[in-house]
């Protein structure tokens, strides 16, 4: 079989396989060996890898909810006023309806589904203290509260209220959230 030579387009160094050439380009030239298709993004959501092509105007909410079927993130105010679409991206709670999906390439994202699967104590505390009526905004509150507990495992009542102040609940369940977050904080493994 004829031996092929794979030449680096940046420095002309020869390699004997495509894999070797790819590794070389990544290591030496700090770039992807092949151009990405336009709009291709890779995301880690709840620890799982996703790769998909997005339109430039799609929001992260559209991708998570409409395309990937993670319907726990909710469309409520539809423009950055209510917190119901909150997800945690690289440790920070963000509004997925105000974030363009195409800007999230390479990001690590946690949604309500991931928080529930890991049996975070917030879930049980929310059920126990009736922190929901219609329930539409509830996942957004849980995600915001989870982000709070991640950075501050022992929040005061005032810190909880401040952290959740950006989440709207039309049913007015607010006081019950504070109780639930405090209880969940006590049940965190490291507390």
């Amino acid at each position: 079989m004829e031996e092929r030579v794979y030449t680096c387009p940046y420095c002309a160094m020869a390699h004997n396989s495509t894999e070797a050439l790819k590794s070389h380009v990544i290591a030496e030239h700090k770039t992807e060996p092949l151009p990405s298709p336009e709009g291709l993004i890779r995301l880690a959501i709840n620890g799982q890898g996703y790769e998909l092509t997005v339109e430039p105007h799609w929001t992260l909410y559209q991708v998570i909810h409409d395309k990937l079927g993670l319907t726990g993130s909710k469309m409520f105010c539809d423009r950055g006023a209510c917190g119901s679409c909150t997800v945690i991206m690289d440790g920070r709670p963000i509004l997925s309806c105000m974030t363009l999906a195409i800007e999230c390439h390479g990001k690590s994202i946690e949604t309500i589904e991931g928080i529930a699967e890991k049996k975070h104590p917030l879930i049980d505390a929310y059920v126990k203290h009736h922190c929901m009526q219609c329930g539409y905004c509830t996942p957004g509150f849980v995600v915001t509260a989870k982000a709070l507990l991640d950075r501050n495992p022992k929040p005061t009542e005032e810190e909880i209220r401040q952290a959740l102040a950006g989440n709207l609940c039309r049913c007015g369940t607010y006081p019950q959230h504070v109780t639930a977050v405090q209880e969940a904080a006590k049940k965190l493994p490291n507390s």
Binding site: D66, M75, E113, K128, H130, Q133, Y174
Partner: protein, 803 residues
Amino acid sequence: MALEIKDMPINPMERDQYEPERFNALGKRGIRRIDGYKKASGKAIYTRDITLPGMLYAKWLRSPYPNAKIITMDTSRAEALSGVRGVLRYDDPEVMGRRVIGTYGSTEDMLAGYCYFEGQQMGAVVAADTEEIANEALKLIKVEWEIRPFVLDGEEALKPGAPLARPEWFQDNLSADPPSPAPNVLNRGDVEKGFKEADRIIEFKARRRYHGGADAELLCGISRWEDDCLELWLHHQHPYEHKWTMHQYFGVPMNKVTAHAPYNGGMYGGWNWIPYSQIAQGVSAILARRTGRPVKWVFDRREDFVFGSMDAQVSYIKVGIKNDGLIIAIDMKSVFENTGNFAEEHFLENTRVPNIRALNLTGRVNKPPAIAIRCEQLPMCFAFTHVFNHVAAALNMDPTEVALKNDGAEGHGLEHLNQFKQDHGFPVRDSLKECIEKGKKAIGWDEKWHAPGAKKLPNGKLHGLGFIWDNEWDDNRGAGVAGVFIQQDGSINIVAFRADVGVNAETTYCQVVADELGARIEDVHFRHQEDVYLPAMTPDGSSNLTTNGYVMRKAARKAKQQLLEVATSIVNTIERDIPPAFPGIKPEDLDVGESQVFVKADPSSRKSIAEVVKDMHGSMGWGLDYAAIQGTTHAPVFAWAYHRQGRYGTEPGRHRLCRQIHFCEIEVDPETGEIDVKRVVNVNDVGKALSPEAVEGQQYGGTYMGVGRNVMEEYIWDPPTGVLLNGSLLDYKWATMLDLGPVDTIIVETGMGYGPYGTCGIGEDVATITTHLLQGAVYNATGKWVDDGPITPDKVLRALGKA
């Protein structure tokens, strides 16, 4: 007494008692809510979340003018856009001139070629592969408009020469469309005589401005045809009603219409009562049939601002009072916008005020339709609160004393109510007094109460205390049907179809069935989202527990009877006869508890419900291992029941006996006009709290909704153009977590409610009453009246002479 009441198996005139020794679940704390995990974990599915294979998205054209008519419309460019699968025009033969039924007995155009408020969905509907394409197509529609003059104010609308708000329908602006009252003067007693006997007469004008639903889940719905069967996914509180309306629209037999009622993002009535709430679904069904694809209609947030609350009103009120606090005459005229109600009703029903004259007029204006949004008794609470606050202030009396002085029913005092309680087996308890005593203590009323404008705090703010009271209500007549089915493994289902409105009602129904049947709460389940042809109940809004609680109880008791009969009978299966679980025992000698059937005389002789029913339906007599085999040989334990709850929760002559009160403590900043709500104390006589945590949820939630309306909620239109200016949740404000200080919830249980086990609903009361919570407190703080809701800082500053 009316015949129908006498014939009802449950007489609402009599006390229905809670029996603590009989119940393990009802009235207990710590019962896990059946929707809790789903809602907290994001697993609960709402209509907005649903995508069907091949589904199209339908979007409406919206009117840019408050009062206009289409002269010509060109949809050709929209139709030609790639991805557009259908365009329905107002002049399409299927909809042109077609007026169809909506709710409240109203009719509406299927798809109007005109508009009567800015932002109205009308003219054309586009179905496309995506929402973006549908929106793009709408921009390509060219309309030539006839722009007409408009009117935005109810009083202006009723003046001669005012622009006609709905010229296609009415040649004047005075409305008596249900539920608005006819423009007739109501008279009780002799008001003029009352004023002559009065020691003092006060007069004032009060106003409440238009506010709205701003519900959680944006409005939407899905329609799909399969051959001649129509399937619907409904974000609506009246799912069953859609089967009737779709039958009316399309002639499709109701037995071929299937509805699904996924979870609902909070609606609080509102949209569900708007005539065209069901028409939106009808239009999507037309497009679904034409395209052969499922069609989901969707509104965005701006499009969602298409309805409001029916208490946009101006009231002119004159009150005659005695020096001891007795109100002896009220003369009241109210003018509403688009929809009105009987503002005087709470005085008529729940006070001893002998002389009342009232007139309610409703003016049609070029604003969205107005309807009950938690709830239609806002106008009554508005009038009630303003009168009591003004009377107490005029006499320089403690407002709690004025309330106690005037409490009663239908023009009679407390002695009349007490007699009624005694005659009908109720405890003779003074609900209002009990509530006031508890609430005063919680807020520190006696130490903190002061003369108006008399307490300036070290921080420079003005301290105010407020108190309001009202009666309990459950404003919606209703009827429900449900079944109780025992599965072969002994697990129990409630079988019925209803929309979830978030009040934990489904769990409480399970509690009723568990305790009445003798099952453990964890053995009862209610999956209510699927159409099983038993509507429990429609409409699904008010009167949840007070109607369905009776339904569940009746069904459970019947099922229990069947279970006991099975336990004492031979079960004939195909293969063999199975001897009775309790041979030689009569059904009446058995009872059920903890999901076990036992002999009353010897409770150690017991078998689980599962054991009793295991050889029934689905078995050939080979035991549970063969359960999947066909061979139904014995009818399953299944019982159904029906209950109708009276108009407004009670029947005529059944007085309301429970009282609801609220206290608040506020600080008013005299420099900015801002109000800090430092504390709210809710004291609700709920008769009996069957799910205490759910009751507290209503107390908290109602307070946030009410106080938010009181100080910030308002739709604002641009006067020159009639265009809504704050149609987003950034600009339309409601209360957030930081807007209120602590909210105390005190539950009083006098057992005098009209619902099962002596309960009564408060989910609507709290939000409706507290919509005026701060009005008296602002007066107490500043010594000035702001009788114009919402009480925004600019109005407070104006009252203080600073703006």
